[in-house]
Amino acid sequence: MDFDALLLSRIQFAFTIAFHILFPAFTIGLASYLAVLEGLWLFTRREVFKTLFLYWVKIFAISFGMGVVSGVVMSYQFGTNWSEFSRLAMPVIGPLLGYEVLTAFFLEASFLGIMLFGWRKVGPGLHFLATCLVAIGTAVSGFWILSANSWMQTPAGFAVGADGRMIATDYLQVIFNPSFPARFAHMMTAAYLTTALAVAGASAFQRLRGTAGDASRTALRMAVLLIAVAAPLQLAFGHWSGEVVKHHQPAKLAAIEAWWETRADQPFVIFAVPDRELQANRHEVAIPKVGSMVQLAEPGEVIPGLDRYARADQPPVAPVFFSFRIMVGLGLLMIGLGFWGAFVWWRGRIDRSRWFQRAAVLMSPAGFAAVLTGWFVAEIGRQPWVVYGVLRTADAVSPVPAGHVAFSLLAYMVVYAVVFTAGALFILRLVREGPQGAEPPPTEQRPPGWTLAAAPRDVPGDPE
């Protein structure tokens, strides 16, 4: 394998987007959670909601900042490293990205200032509105970026000109392309689950350490409720997304299931080492016919295997196969955790059940891992295409020297390592301190620069 500009650019894109996606996945859910907390506080006036809001907004501020700066990199990389993709495909999906900036990025960025610093400057109603607008902005951003990415998976509503440039023929078909609804539902639910698992894990950790007060009890319950509802729902959305893959990207399905042979009654492969050279699995453990059953195939329905495709058109099988299994495994564990949490809650033992709390702590990064492996399945499974069936990844790369790409990749790795380590440490420190942790509650004389310098006065019943 040559480390040419193409391979290095692919590694760089994979690295930078894998880093980036962790933050939107977390902040989409967290922004909504904060809006709910602030709304509940304004509505019920219960202190616990305000405490939780003030606590989680600190973690939100750190995560959001990291999401913003790693996101700026993404849009410029389309040009620096994938200039042919930009030139040929942007006439179709460029407007979607433009709409993301116009309808989401400005909304988030502008009202974030009010949300973090404006509590003393605007009334509680306006502040709540700002929080809601940030939450809406994150979701709208998800809408557009999922639409653009789904179009790359299942392109529709376009034509290819004589010069190879694509041109939209129907923007409604472009935006609402075949895989978009399922993938949008799947990703948004993933974001909410990721946040719920992180909140549950942090709250359980605080309970286990004995540093928790009422706030952590409430947060743990809210998170358990969301996991119990969203995790089973996510199974349904995942299945929906799988059906779309089956119809539109059969090569990806074959890679997910490690099916090399086109046949009826496909097996369900539990474990295998897919071998591209051999065009078959080694060490395969499989249940005959169950694979077709999982796909809800008609009896006798032939499902394509990878032998339907020339080697040059096959996606890499092993990473797709393993990523999918990790994602689904984590998803099932999430469903289990949700039911367990609901059960101990129902039995009134949620605050005492240390085994459940330990499990919640253990599962706190599960959402992030599932998001990453899910994206590996989606993006590696699309290879060797950047726009599925239309433009090959190899034809999309920029005319830049490999040395430049190697240098930029190294630069991003070093900078992201520093930024990620610092950010993670700050977040973990906050998790350890807890909502009623070491930091004193906001007072009249706060150090300037304090994120929450503008937090509301701690006067009982003072509605500002």
Partner: protein, 345 residues
């Protein structure tokens, strides 16, 4: 829609987005550039606080400028970004480090805080420097393949004495914007410091702007011709038509100087804005109508009309809203920021 010249409208909109970016993120990058001149950690806190609520919105104009170019002029984007690979990398990496520094600096303890303070300074400075290299590399022209679809130059074409000069000029310019912003937003000692910084940065900007202006005339014959500098002599008629642009710059300098001398807190910032507008228009006049100087025009690089029309509909609705709520956010955070009060008033 057929009656509208969509590529022209989009060229104007992207020019507006880039101008907004330069003016808005200019002053908050400038504050980072000025960090090493500050007296104390408390002063640096106040400096950062004057921009903390708005920097993210400011930087979004960069995404609109870049994303707008990507969407409206994909061929220009596809040629320019590989041509400017390393300056763009420098800018992005610097923006990452300074962007996270806002939160990290307040969260960190002793040594981490010192580290993120330095990162805020370096990140702001090199983001500005990288943008200057991008600007200079753009103005000196980009070599394009015969079919007009790809960058065909060398990997270090962007590096020249001219681009280095422009980069230094932009760093000084942002420092001036930052200093005048601080004059407007701070009190007492820090205000006094900002006043001195305005003098220093202003003098530097005056020199560098003059140098850049002269150098730009020699960087490409198209620019010289545009300004009436022709092989046979100077066409004063043509120069006169464009003379309001340098005069605006001169007026900006005078407003800054008079503002500082008269003790005004706001006039210097207004003057600095005038100066930037003049520089922006002056450079823009030189390379218009190219989106890839001096090879591809805005028309040759534009996305199809249906894409431009779709985006225009969204822009007509969203842009006034964005400008409106951006103005509102600035209004909410108006007035002086002081050490004791933070944002309390």
């Amino acid at each position: 829609m057929s009656a509208l010249d969509l590529p022209l409208i989009w060229a104007g909109l992207i020019a507006l987005a880039v101008l907004m970016y330069v003016l808005l993120d200019g002053f908050d990058l400038g504050i980072g550039i000025l960090f090493p001149f500050s007296r104390s950690a408390a002063d640096r806190d106040v400096m950062m606080n004057t921009v903390a609520p708005v920097w993210d919105g400011n930087e979004t104009w960069l995404i609109l400028g870049g994303g707008g170019l990507l969407a409206a002029f994909p061929t220009a984007y596809a040629v320019l970004m590989p041509a400017l690979y390393l300056p763009v990398l420098l800018m992005l990496v610097a923006l990452i480090l300074r962007g996270v520094a806002f939160e990290f600096r307040f969260r960190a303890r002793r040594r981490g805080r010192a580290f993120w303070t330095v990162m805020f300074w370096l990140g702001s400075t090199f983001a500005a420097f990288g943008q200057g290299l991008i600007l200079g590399g753009f103005i000196q022209g980009v070599r394009v393949s015969a079919d007009g679809t790809r960058f065909a130059g060398g990997p270090f074409d962007w590096l020249s004495p001219y681009t280095l000069l422009v980069a230094c000029g932009l760093v000084a310019g942002y420092a001036l914007l930052g200093a005048t912003w601080l004059m407007m937003k701070t009190e007492r000692d820090l205000h006094g410091d900002a006043r001195r910084w305005t003098w220093g940065a202003g003098a530097l900007v005056g020199l560098l702007l003059l140098a850049v202006s002269v150098a730009t005339l020699f960087v490409h014959p198209t620019i010289a011709e545009r300004w009436g500098v022709k092989p046979g002599g100077i066409d004063f008629g043509q120069l006169a038509v464009l003379s309001p642009i340098p005069l605006l710059g001169l007026a900006g300098m005078i407003v800054v100087a008079l503002g500082v001398r008269s003790g005004s807190h706001r006039l210097p910032f207004a003057g600095a804005l005038m100066l930037f507008l003049s520089g922006y228009l002056g450079l823009g006049v030189g390379f218009a109508p190219y989106t890839v100087p001096y090879a591809l025009s805005y028309r040759e690089t534009a996305a199809p009309d249906n894409a431009l029309a779709l985006m225009l509909v969204g822009t007509v609705v969203a842009l006034p809203l964005i400008l409106g709520y951006t103005a509102w956010v600035y209004w909410v955070f108006r007035g002086k920021v002081t050490e004791e009060a933070g944002y309390h008033h």
